[in-house]
């Protein structure tokens, strides 16, 4: 078994790193492996990945992990207990609820928000940006004007106004954040598309008779995707913070949902004497967004060799 491992390992590595792959699969895996090697050489990035994986696990197993109910508290008996006392590891909040359990369940909301925003905003931005960059002319004009309008808006204020219009709630917060966060993606995708648009390899594809749709979707988008992934990952932190900001202003998730930003907002009143009520969720936000940032940073280095240098 071990002997087998010893011999299998180097060959697998060699197989992956081979200069002359023998199949599509090998080529693709090899490329991923190279990226992974780049990525994993960066200890901070791996730490980020670890945080995100931990977040995922916590979210999945929240029911098992949480020691108490995140919603039912003991107003009379366990209000504002400091960390560690009464079997509450991170203390309790003003409703007498276990903060740890709320944080654990809140991870689901955090994931819900970032994933949803990412799958709404990123594709919109990608399509708008690549189409506008490739088509040029009036299409570009119209799309970019629209993008500019959204960019010219103060993001948080627009989100606030939108939530005010749609009614508070986590779904609407997601929608508002998504609506305000696609323009930068469109800008990035467009800028990248512009640099590729006149390159010889795109000219070559055009010369094969590929339709503009085909060029945009099969040849340009894959090129934009890696920087988009990086940007989205880095933005996840910003999304978490915006969602928390909306929660903080009372426009995000509704009580009793244990949304971290809302938890800070309600804990803010006790910041002077019961620091943990606002402190713990703030710390959770910090850790998770740091995780996303580290991950994105590492991905950028791994995916974009120019950033990383040699």
């Amino acid at each position: 078994m071990t002997a087998n491992d010893m011999t299998a390992k180097p060959t697998l590595r060699q197989w992956l790193l081979s200069d002359r792959p023998q199949s599509r699969r090998q080529a693709r895996l090899g490329r991923l492996y190279v990226i992974w090697r780049q990525f994993s050489a960066n200890r901070l990035a791996v730490l980020g990945l670890g945080i995100i994986i931990a977040l995922l696990l916590v979210a999945v197993f929240a029911d098992v992990l949480a020691p108490h109910s995140p919603i039912q508290g003991d107003l009379r008996g366990a209000r504002l207990l400091p960390p560690g006392s009464g079997g509450y590891l991170l203390g309790t909040d003003d409703q007498g609820r276990d903060i740890l359990s709320r944080l654990i369940h809140g991870s689901r909301l955090t994931l819900f928000v970032v994933v949803l925003v990412a799958i709404i905003a990123a594709p919109i931005g990608l399509i708008v940006g690549t189409v506008s960059g490739y088509a040029g002319g009036w299409v570009d004009g119209v799309l970019m004007r629209t993008t500019d309008i959204f960019l010219a808006f103060p993001k948080l204020v627009l989100a606030l106004a939108l939530v005010a219009a749609l009614g508070p709630g986590i779904e609407n917060a997601v929608l508002a954040i998504a609506i305000t966060s696609w323009p930068p993606y469109a800008r990035i995708a467009r800028a990248e598309t512009m640099t590729f648009r006149n390159s010889d390899y795109i000219s070559a594809v055009r010369l094969m008779g590929a339709s503009p749709m085909r060029i945009v979707f099969f040849h340009i988008m894959p090129l934009c995707i890696s920087s988009l992934i990086v940007r989205v990952t880095l933005d996840m932190a910003g999304i978490i913070l915006t969602a928390a900001g909306l929660g903080f202003l009372g426009l995000g998730a509704q009580p009793p949902l244990p949304e971290w930003g809302a938890m800070i907002a309600s804990g803010r009143r006790f910041i002077l004497d019961q620091w943990w009520v606002a402190g713990m969720p703030g710390f959770a936000i910090l850790v998770v967004s740091l995780g996303f940032n580290l991950l994105g940073d590492g991905l950028r280095d791994a995916l974009d060799p120019k950033e990383a240098g040699q």
């Binding site: 039912q72 107003l75 504002l80 003003d94 005010a164 508070p168 509704q254 009580p255 009143r269 019961q274």
Partner: protein, 516 residues
């Protein structure tokens, strides 16, 4: 550190939208107006069931109970230096009624209209003002209403100098704005202080009125600094950056109480917190359900924590201190009983309802706690947070399920609350009187009539009895779950002398304060 001749209060006054006493109807404005304008009469600070003269030296009421004649004190002056005459008083009434802004109904309920006001409220001579009402109301009711800020006397000369001409329309038949625009931010009064400046959500600055007819305030200046957060007020108070913190929450109140150099004071206010069940919702309309909700609030726990020090549990619709107010507290958290009632209503498995909650404390905290106790009986409560205007818009349109909020008496008379909780002559969507009963689509049936009857009852004891009855009925069957009565608290630097909170916002006087 605050200056020696200046009182600095940290105060959340984001509700101020105008300073015109004929227009303003907000709690914070009431305090500002009360300190800067004078009225004919005022509540007796020592016994709030009595009314004493302020500008009025004395008054008489005709035998038919329709005519009130006020005699002004001699030699009164406005801050501007103009003399105060009965003419000014009549003008103040006239403009309030003609402007017809939010608080105007307080006067128009006596039958005053834009067409008859010059007849019904007029100066008999230099110092005699005569007011004629349309029915023989209980005098205590009329006089109580006249202590509200809408009856503040403004400086006619100054106001009319600054009035703007307007084009009359169907809605507004007059060619002048009666200085409304000027008074929104300006001042034309005769109180102990004059208003120097108001910057919305920032600051209100009062300065000593040297023409004040009464005892002159000791401080030269009072600054209300807008601070929304309790913790911020506490910080600033502890650091000496403000002298008074006005919106302390229980935790911070506790903390400053223990702090050296800081004292606290409190006064019960006429504001009640309640949640109400919209009777348009079939489930909420069932009597058993209404009763069950009253058993599903953990009054004691809330009282000991969330509103500790800032409110006292109160289950009737009249705040303590008003005529006829009852102190009954029959309800306690009793999940078993509530379940039983729900089962009787055929809702043993529970149901889902929404509650509109404005996102401030302690309402949100209470809502969250109620959410938990309701859950124990199988009722799933979805909280819809919103800012004040938002929830209120919905509430006024009768689109809510449950609304949690507060009600403050418009004037210091039981009719104010009785009218809103038990008066609803037309329960259709087109109903004109949008009282709380109407907003919750509750038809109080004969209570409506009783409420009106109480208004004309001259005998205070009998009048009180009617109100007691009304309260009992609402307590038993009304769709209102009354929670607590507000106690206003303030933490203040013990360098202050004579700092006190009054029984209502228009009695939170600052002119008595001095500093070491």
């Amino acid at each position: 550190v605050t200056p020696a001749d200046t009182l600095v209060e940290g105060f959340a006054f984001d509700d101020i939208i105008t300073l015109d006493p004929g227009e303003a109807f907000e709690l914070s404005t009431a305090e500002v107006t009360a300190n800067t304008y004078s009225k004919l009469v005022n509540l007796d600070m020592n016994d709030t069931s009595k009314v004493v003269g302020e500008l009025a030296d004395s008054w008489t009421i005709s035998d038919d109970g329709l005519t009130y004649t006020f005699k002004l004190k001699p030699g009164l002056k406005f801050a501007s230096g103009n003399p105060i005459t009965a003419e000014d008083v009549a003008f103040s009434f006239e403009r309030a009624v003609k402007l017809d802004k939010s608080p105007a109904f307080l006067l128009t309920q006596f039958g005053l209209t834009g067409d008859n006001i010059t007849e019904k409220a007029k100066a008999a001579d230099e110092t005699t003002f005569v007011l004629t009402v349309d029915k023989a109301y209980a005098p205590s009711f009329v006089l109580n209403v006249l202590t509200s800020t809408v009856a503040s006397v403004v400086d006619k000369k100054l106001v009319m100098e600054n009035a703007k001409p307007v084009t009359p329309t169907d809605e507004y038949k007059y060619d002048t704005d009666f200085g409304n625009e000027y008074l929104k931010t300006g001042y034309a009064g005769s109180g102990p202080f004059k208003i120097r400046e108001w910057r919305a959500n920032e600051v209100v600055v009062l300065e000593r009125n040297d023409n004040f007819f009464g005892e002159k305030p000791k401080l030269a200046r009072v600054i209300y600094r807008h601070m929304k957060e309790s913790s911020g007020q506490r910080l600033a108070l502890e650091n000496g950056d403000i002298d008074v913190a006005r919106n302390l929450e229980p935790g911070d109140l506790d903390a400053v109480t223990k702090k050296e150099g800081i004292a606290t004071t409190s006064a019960p206010k006429g504001t009640l917190y309640y949640f109400s069940l919209n009777q348009k919702n079939e489930k909420l309309a069932k009597p058993e359900v209404i009763e069950a909700f009253k058993y599903l609030v953990d009054y004691d726990a809330i009282g000991e924590t969330l509103i500790k020090g800032i409110g006292s549990i109160h289950q009737t619709f009249l705040p303590a201190g008003q005529l006829g107010a009852l102190e009954d507290k029959p309800y306690k958290l009793d999940v078993a009983k509530a379940k039983e009632l729900l089962a009787k209503a055929g809702l043993a498995d529970g149901f889902t309802v929404t509650m509109d909650v404005r996102n401030n404390q302690p309402v949100t905290g209470i809502a969250e706690n109620v959410q938990q106790t309701l859950a124990q009986a199988g009722i799933k409560l979805e909280i819809i947070p919103g800012d004040g205007k938002q929830t209120l818009t919905k509430y006024r349109a009768r689109q809510h399920d449950i609304y949690i909020g507060q009600w403050g008496s418009d004037y210091f008379d039981p009719n104010s609350n009785a009218e809103t909780f038990t008066f609803n002559p037309d329960n259709s969507d087109e109903g004109k009187n949008k009282t709380l009963a109407w907003r919750n689509a509750w038809d109080p049936k004969d209570l409506t009539v009783k409420t009106q009857a109480a208004l004309l009852e001259k005998d205070s004891a009998k009048r009180a009895a009617i109100y007691e009855d009304l309260q009992k009925q609402v307590l038993a069957t009304g769709p209102f779950v009354m929670l607590f009565q507000q106690i206003e608290v303030a933490g203040y630097s013990d360098k202050l002398k004579g700092f006190k909170l009054g029984p209502s916002f228009d009695t939170n006087f600052v002119y008595t304060v001095s500093k070491d």
